[in-house]
């Protein structure tokens, strides 16, 4: 097991940033860490990387305790902090060889590791340039190269794709997917498509507490908000409404739009019980001109919104 967090808690004075977070990440998993801004993602990552000491609780990485043997932990993790901090006045080569040395790479291996990273992250054309002159995409690659230069078995990436354009985001995701074949990856993000695209598992944190843990599919089953069916008619709705209420009194019906051009009705049911068949049959029997019928299932975004909506925004 790569990462084990047990009851991790971090308090700043009376404010609790993270409240007894416990989770286990297996070797080779790519885990997405989701949560709104300020939910405690960064704080949790800082506790795992030994930057912050937890107020209580412990964490283990590859069997090493974060607090009692920080040096061993730090040798096996690669960390990309939020906003990818770099030294703008160093060249890419200077910075990466510095990173290699302070990451514990032996002097004899520095040059070889450096070459490997430059190739892996596609930095050949800029390796002699000053970091301050690089584009954001290249800087992000330098940040990743820095995190990977000592060939760590665990990667902790805090919002690795923030601020990149769609092409660069895809490049970085591909890189992470490739790395995930042999490394354990924990990455935080608030781009939900990212999680669906690359993660085998999701942890959702809200106001310092873990509120969900599972594969994207698991979460969809677990937190299913039911199924919504949309029906569009050419006919007048009034007769239809009365008839369908008589026949299916248990269904929640909501008229979304009603006009001469468009009549749209939304039905919500708890389960996908093949309602479409019943609805179509009903329409034929009652000679209603059905123009469209489509289904919407709750996706990760709905689940995220439902789990992380704060008491404050709920009351608004």
């Amino acid at each position: 097991m790569s990462i084990i967090a047990k009851e991790l808690t971090k308090k700043y004075g009376s404010f609790t940033a993270v409240q007894s977070a416990s989770f286990t990440i297996q070797t080779g998993e790519i885990v997405g860490f989701l949560g709104p801004n300020g939910a405690g993602k960064t704080t949790t990552m800082k506790m795992l990387t030994g930057i912050l000491n937890p107020t209580s609780g412990t964490a283990e990485i590859n069997g090493f305790d974060v607090i009692s043997s920080p040096e061993s932990v730090k040798k096996v993790i690669g960390f990309l902090p939020e906003n990818n901090p770099l030294y703008p006045d160093l060249t890419v080569n200077e910075y990466l060889s510095y990173s290699a040395r302070i990451s514990g790479v032996k002097s004899g291996d520095v040059a070889a590791n450096l070459d490997k990273m430059i190739q892996l992250c596609g930095l050949e054309s800029v390796n002699k340039k000053i970091i301050g002159t690089l584009s954001k995409g290249y800087r992000q690659r330098v940040g990743l190269a820095q995190a990977l230069i000592h060939d760590p078995s665990v990667l902790i990436l805090d919002e690795p794709t923030t601020g990149l354009d769609p092409n660069q985001i895809l490049e970085i995701r591909d890189l992470i997917l490739n790395l995930g074949k042999e490394k354990t990856v924990l990455l935080s993000t608030h781009i939900l498509q990212e999680v669906e695209a690359i993660c085998n598992r999701v942890l959702i944190i809200n106001e310092g507490e873990l509120v969900a843990d599972g594969t994207p599919a698991d979460l969809q089953n677990q937190f299913k908000g039911g199924v919504a069916w949309y029906l569009e008619f050419a006919n007048d709705l009034v007769i239809f409404q009365e008839e369908i209420r008589k026949q299916y009194p248990e269904m929640m019906m909501e008229v979304v739009a009603m006009s001469n051009e468009k009549n749209l009705v939304k039905f919500t049911t708890l389960q996908d019980d093949h309602l479409n068949r019943k609805l179509v049959r009903f329409c034929i029997d009652h000679q209603v001109d059905l123009l469209q019928l489509y289904k919407e299932e709750s996706n990760l975004e709905d689940i995220f919104r439902r789990l992380t909506i704060t008491t404050e925004s709920r009351s608004n």
């Binding site: 930057i51 912050l52 730090k74 200077e94 510095y98 302070i102 000053i130």
Partner: protein
Amino acid sequence: MNPSLAAVFRKELKLFFNTPVAFIATVIFLVFVGWFFNSTLFLENVASMRTLFTVAPFAFLFFIPALTMKLFSEELKSGTYDLLVSKPVTLPQVITGKFLATMAVISVFLAPTLMYAVTIGSLAPLDWGTVIGGYLGLILIGGIYTSVGIFTSTLTENQIVAFISGFVLCFVLYTADRIGMFVPSAISPFFQYLSVNVHFTAISRGVIDSRDLVYSFSMMILFLTFSYLILLKRKEN
């Protein structure tokens, strides 16, 4: 040298010399010190380096906090500090690496002033004992100010605040003997002892007293330890 410490040392040197900062500072320092040195040398008509050893500690009050202000403040502000402490390098290694790099820059500052000694020495007999003592004293003062500057740099993310508080703290240490004149006589010796000036006067006369060395190294260790404790505290919040 420990490889991590050496890596930090080398990185800091590159950060000083990849930008014009170190060059500009060296030039201004040399103009400043050279001006005072030159303007009194022929007036006094004595083959001595005393002016340099009097003016340089004063110039250091500005120049050294200017060099050290970014050492931690900038890393704390940009977030590279978090990255640094996520690496298997210890805080004492980081602090020592930065301290030694600054000392190297100070040596670069001072190196061109050796020309003064060579020039004067070729014109008239020069007391080399006082010259060596003077340089040793400058290095020690540089070390004390550097550790003070590193300490104030760990306190804040704002470089200007780090610079000003570093300058004020160095100034207080520099003039502690004068402050000593205004405090009750019972604690006056304490201020006398704290004063950089008092200890340095003897060294620049060529008298190397072990008490002055002990003083210098204790001050350096004291402020570097303070820095360490401040950084350790950051892990808690």
